[in-house]
Amino acid sequence: MSLLEVKQLTKNFGGLSAVSMVNMELGDNELVGLIGPNGAGKTTLFNLLTGVYEPTEGVIDLEVDGEKTSLIKQKTYNITAMGLGRTFQNIRLFKDLTVLENVLIGMHEKNKVGTIASIFRTPQYYAAEESMRKEALELLKLFNLETKVEELAKNLPYGEQRRLEIVRALATKPKILFLDEPAAGMNPQETANLTSLIRQVHKDFKLTILLIEHDMSLVMDVCERIYVLEYGRMIAHGSPEEIKNNEAVIKAYLGGE
């Protein structure tokens, strides 16, 4: 079975059907793109998968410890614990906390330090803090953020904020990482740097990545497969080459040359 299976997924807002009857599958260690016009329902799909919105109908199954587990009606934090990590279209860092704290918060659930242990400062508490700190610093180093650990997140330049968001998502130890327009607001040079970073994460962490992006240079470059949404429906699916030449996609999204 594939890692994540989505069937007939639908989300209505009042009369508007933001996502309708969407089917999708993600396998192990894949790098998949999700594109579509503005308002097609891409972000909404992410929100459904991560439990931020509750689907109107449909099936979302994730493989957890070899078993098929439904994500419907699960709380976001449970879903995260099961291995789905994400970034946000509009950056949502913990702005007034330091870079390090942002990452440590991502690690919190996986390094259960009990409230009681923390209040009474048991030896376990010290040990856990030590190891979390070490791990966080290593992660930050990997993303060239090691010199910024004590900076407040809000004071980082935009590009570094995007990177920190990815680090923070990785700190939750996800099996699947959802990236929502990581290159938005970046110039082509910055986008190129980001492209190689995504490749590296994909390789080093051996995880599956689902990527929303309007920058075709990035999508076509890194994605193995691409899904295309329009008006909430999946209108196409295939390799970058197939998508580039798909009439419907060109008409709805890419535009003719």
Binding site: F88, K95, H108, I119
Partner: protein, 324 residues
């Protein structure tokens, strides 16, 4: 590890020094009965404000009902210690207060902490008023509107000081730990916090319960020291008074709350001779302070011993994130 101990030692010395200073003051008669009342008011306000700050400043939940939990603590302590007028009776009463306040906080927290902003504020205000009205109507136990009087005076400043140290250590240790960071992340961005796998409801409730428990302690000490309590001591205006201390000190700064409680306590002494004009001066001061320093005295910063002792090492000490 060495770093931690050094810092803990610093705080220990600091606390001991303050204790000795107060002790010296009372022995030499510098702190007379009147200053002692002021001191007690300040100490009790410190507990109240730090507890509320945990809820509002750290978990980011807007509670306007702190006085309700204080009332629970005050009445439990009053009732128990009238029956058993001993130190054990006092501690038993306070413990009972903590337990009941925590249970009530848990019970109301689970449904209401889903609410946001002003809606939560109104709900918590309502909870506090319900607590007060229940107390008002439990005549046999609470003596209704007339309240309890003749509560034995047991909570001297030494006992109060001990309670303050304990509750501050608990709260500080909590916020400077992984669960504490999880709590703060809710204030920063609830949706992002959930996406980090944090059970936001759980940590909101922990903060709410801890805050309620500390309010119960403060209420118990208040009852025991002042020996009279009435339901009308714990109205919405009391919650507002505590809120003022918290905001004045800086939302998200525990040491700020401590400093603000002290400053406002001392301000009150100086304003007392002004009679009716006092409240006018106080309100003008309140507006002026907020206009000129909207983030409060300390903002979200904490005053630290290490920062005071050697400013050079400040960076590394913050890094350790230990009980500052």
């Amino acid at each position: 590890m060495k770093q931690f101990n050094k810092k803990n030692l610093g705080w220990l010395i600091f606390i001991a020094a303050i204790y000795i200073l107060i002790q010296l003051g009372t022995s030499l008669g510098i702190i007379n009965a009147f200053y002692e009342i002021t001191l007690m008011t300040i100490l009790i306000n410190v507990i109240l404000a730090t507890g509320l700050n945990l809820i509002i400043g750290f978990s980011g939940q807007f509670s306007l009902g702190h006085a309700g939990f204080m009332a629970i603590g005050a009445y439990c302590t009053g009732i128990v210690s009238i029956k058993y007028p001993t130190v054990l009776g006092l501690i038993g009463g306070i413990l009972l207060g903590i337990i009941i306040a925590s249970l009530v906080a848990l019970l109301v927290g689970i449904p209401t902490l889903r609410l946001k902003g002003d809606y939560l504020a109104i709900a918590t205000l309502g909870v506090a008023e319900i607590i007060r009205i229940v107390i008002l109507n439990m005549n046999d136990l609470t003596n209704g509107a007339a309240g309890l009087s003749g509560i034995p005076f047991i909570a001297n400043w030494q006992i109060t000081f001990a309670f303050i140290v304990i509750s501050l250590i608990v709260i500080m240790n909590y916020i400077k730990s992984s669960p504490g960071r999880a709590t703060i992340s809710i204030r920063e961005d609830e949706i992002a916090a959930e996406s980090m796998g944090i059970n936001t409801t759980k940590y909101k409730i922990i903060a709410f319960v801890l805050g309620a428990a500390s309010a119960a302690i403060a209420g118990g000490l208040h009852a025991s020291y002042f020996s009279v309590i009435r339901p009308s001591d714990f109205t919405f205006m009391k919650s507002v008074d505590i809120l003022i201390i918290v905001v004045f000190g800086g939302l998200g700064s525990m040491t700020g709350s401590v400093v603000a409680a002290i400053v406002l306590g001392i301000l009150n002494i100086y304003l007392q001779p002004f009679g009716q004009l006092r409240m006018i001066i106080y309100s003008v001061a309140l507006v002026a302070i907020m206009v000129f320093k909207p983030s409060g005295l300390l903002g979200t910063k904490e005053f630290t011993i290490s920062g005071l002792l050697d400013r050079k090492n400040k960076k590394s000490s913050v890094k350790e994130g230990e009980a500052e």
